[in-house]
Symmetry: C3
Subunit: 340 residues, 3 copies
Amino acid sequence: MNFTALEISEKFSGSIQGNGEVLISRLSKIEEAEVGALSFIAHPKYIPFLALTKASAVLVAHDLETSYQGPATLIRVTDPYIVFTQLMRSWAEFNKTEPPKGIHATALIDPTATVAKGVAIGPYVTIGPKTRIGEGALIQAHCIIGSQVTIGKGTILNARVTVMDETEIGSACIIHSGVVIGSDGFGFAPQENNTYLKTPHLGKVIIKNKVEIGANTTIDRATLGATLIEEGVKLDNLVQIAHNVEIGPHTVIAAQTGIAGSSKIGSQCIIGGQVGIAGHLTIGDNVRIQGQTGVVSDLSAGSTVQGTPAYDYRSYYKSYALFKRFPAIEKRLSSIEKKN
Amino acid sequence: MNFTALEISEKFSGSIQGNGEVLISRLSKIEEAEVGALSFIAHPKYIPFLALTKASAVLVAHDLETSYQGPATLIRVTDPYIVFTQLMRSWAEFNKTEPPKGIHATALIDPTATVAKGVAIGPYVTIGPKTRIGEGALIQAHCIIGSQVTIGKGTILNARVTVMDETEIGSACIIHSGVVIGSDGFGFAPQENNTYLKTPHLGKVIIKNKVEIGANTTIDRATLGATLIEEGVKLDNLVQIAHNVEIGPHTVIAAQTGIAGSSKIGSQCIIGGQVGIAGHLTIGDNVRIQGQTGVVSDLSAGSTVQGTPAYDYRSYYKSYALFKRFPAIEKRLSSIEKKN
Amino acid sequence: MNFTALEISEKFSGSIQGNGEVLISRLSKIEEAEVGALSFIAHPKYIPFLALTKASAVLVAHDLETSYQGPATLIRVTDPYIVFTQLMRSWAEFNKTEPPKGIHATALIDPTATVAKGVAIGPYVTIGPKTRIGEGALIQAHCIIGSQVTIGKGTILNARVTVMDETEIGSACIIHSGVVIGSDGFGFAPQENNTYLKTPHLGKVIIKNKVEIGANTTIDRATLGATLIEEGVKLDNLVQIAHNVEIGPHTVIAAQTGIAGSSKIGSQCIIGGQVGIAGHLTIGDNVRIQGQTGVVSDLSAGSTVQGTPAYDYRSYYKSYALFKRFPAIEKRLSSIEKKN
């Protein structure tokens, strides 16, 4: 698959600076690019690589100021990262190896399960009674799917995913290796003799369309009702979603974050890595939570927070700047005390 | 399975407010309940739902003050959450699907292993030499059990659990999907050439009765001796238990918490999520550790701590309240400096 | 395998205090040792156990001051922990059960894959097209290895490891159960309609020689190029390594730490547990990061940091000591305000 810089520029309504006829035959990071490669600059940190790169062409923003004179051709576009992402998607589509087809002889599928046409099922998969797998779904090796599960059209389960009974997964989802969906929530009623009585988990997990779930993430079933992951949610690796949590559409959650039982997260939130959110909270839409933050109270829509307990991130940074100077501040106080 | 409100009230020594003859045919959360459902209020946050619920009856505490006049019947009991939990357990017991029975043809069981009567073993399970599985245990699909392991009566291993050589698991335990028990601890002796020499892990893991372990949690084997999880301990998902850790009876640990090597945790502790406990520490009985706390020194019995490093949580909150007002406090200091 | 205390002392250039002829037949922790055992003291916390131990001999440092008179024989060496580690390695070597041999009948190996001599492959393993497994490698039960993967000589994959397409793993590595290597990174380009476009991950993961990776750890493939784990790196359990991260030789990372996309970590760093490192950062060689630290900017070689955001750990501790006394400090300020 080859393009000229000009063809790419025209496809994405860009403008050319340099030789538009240069041929692009692969995509590379700017610091590793060789002749024939197209690269991009989305983060200012990478501007210094422009002078050094061997790339034949580089996608940059319309407003990137640079005195660069070549030899690489610059293709100026509105959002270089999005254009590069779309080109990577085209490349991936073009180069992708033939996906597995059919049902492997070692897959154990209950006779009451329903498998639509075009479904591929890998070796050693087990599928329980009354489960339904939608058209074109791909179930990779060693997946374990319980009873009465539904999996939507075109959804991909990578190797070694556990989906427990009654889970509902929408269409066009991608679930990565090692994920566990539908295990019992962490609920125990304290007893008088200092032991605990296990709370049964009679609910389930519902995952809507276009959700992506990272490797080794865990999502517990509800005590009653459903743990709910709305359309377009993206969860990174090693995330913990407790029983009865609800996550609104198009919210993105980075690795190792945990959300405790029954909390409701709004739509289009951006939640950093290693964040902890306590139970029974309501987080509004478009909330941003900085990495490692500990949220212990409700957050209104549009807020950005940091700290444990969490509050406005600008205020946090102001206080933290003073925290770092605390010894000097305490000395100022001592000095005045001596004068008084 | 149907009950009247009065039957439930009598079974749990409660009192009725409203129509005792109303028929209960299912259990629901108060905000989702329909006619025929029994709900409960355990957390004050849910009191406003009482006025709106369609539930036919609601379990509330004897001392809940409310001017509510119906239509739902109130069943007043000592602890609504425990009563509801017990009803859920009855419902779960009554409705549970027939558990799997027998040993699947694809399970690979070493001829020197011992499998007691009533054990069910799922597809693609592997069981090593001299391992003993106790009466009525349930080993779900894809579990991998090493050699010389013992698993007690009635213990449940959900799908895809790894139990390595010599591990001892008691009776009535529940191990969720993706758990790894008995992998090598993280021990390396630094060498003079700046490399590391791996410490062999010759010890094992011992898990006593009635322990529950959440999905994708990891428990490492001891260097020498045993990593020890005492009776009734409950571990949530994605918890890390390092080599030679000991956890006392009926201690509860929330998701994503990690305990470093050789630390000893007391009994009946309540440890929040994302807590880190450094190595070689002793944590007393009945200690409470707030979420995201970092413990770097011993804690005496009964203490409640927060912060990194951890100390008394009330003192932490007092300091944190001032931290949030730090810019104003520093201004007060500046203002006095000008006067002096 | 029996030794006298004198034989051990001579082998490791030590000196004997007490009876050199005492016979050692096993290795134990000092607090659990019985007659016939050799123990060691490496951490001052364990010195009090010396007076109580039933061990026949104890390894201690040349400079350990003690008035201890027996009955245990003391073997004084330069580094008791390293000597004990080496003895454990000898014991482990001597006592190890015969490793599995050959290829299990249920392993599914693509005909285009290459398996060198001396490789053992457990039950239900799947190996994809054009993958090459080096001499003497051990692939335990239920591992899933994709296409065009290379695995070096003598590398051990414990049970239930996922290695996705094109991953390169060096020789003498140990990968623990539940690890996922090569899943897609967490990259999404925001769209104008508030949804996200998945970034394809066309890169791979490269793991060099003598790397050890703990249970349930996840390592994502690069967007372009490679996520790179250099020689001798040790990763604990439940660690998250994002796309395009690079980790320098002999760096050690404790459990539940997460490193975000494209960050470069130096060599011989020591990174504590539950640390978070933001994306696109450069961390120098020999950096030490305390547990739970949040790193959001570059760190120069040799620094030791703590806090979120991270800075010099001694400064952090000084400020934190004052933070704990904040209420008293604020009172001092109030008291002066009254005087002014």
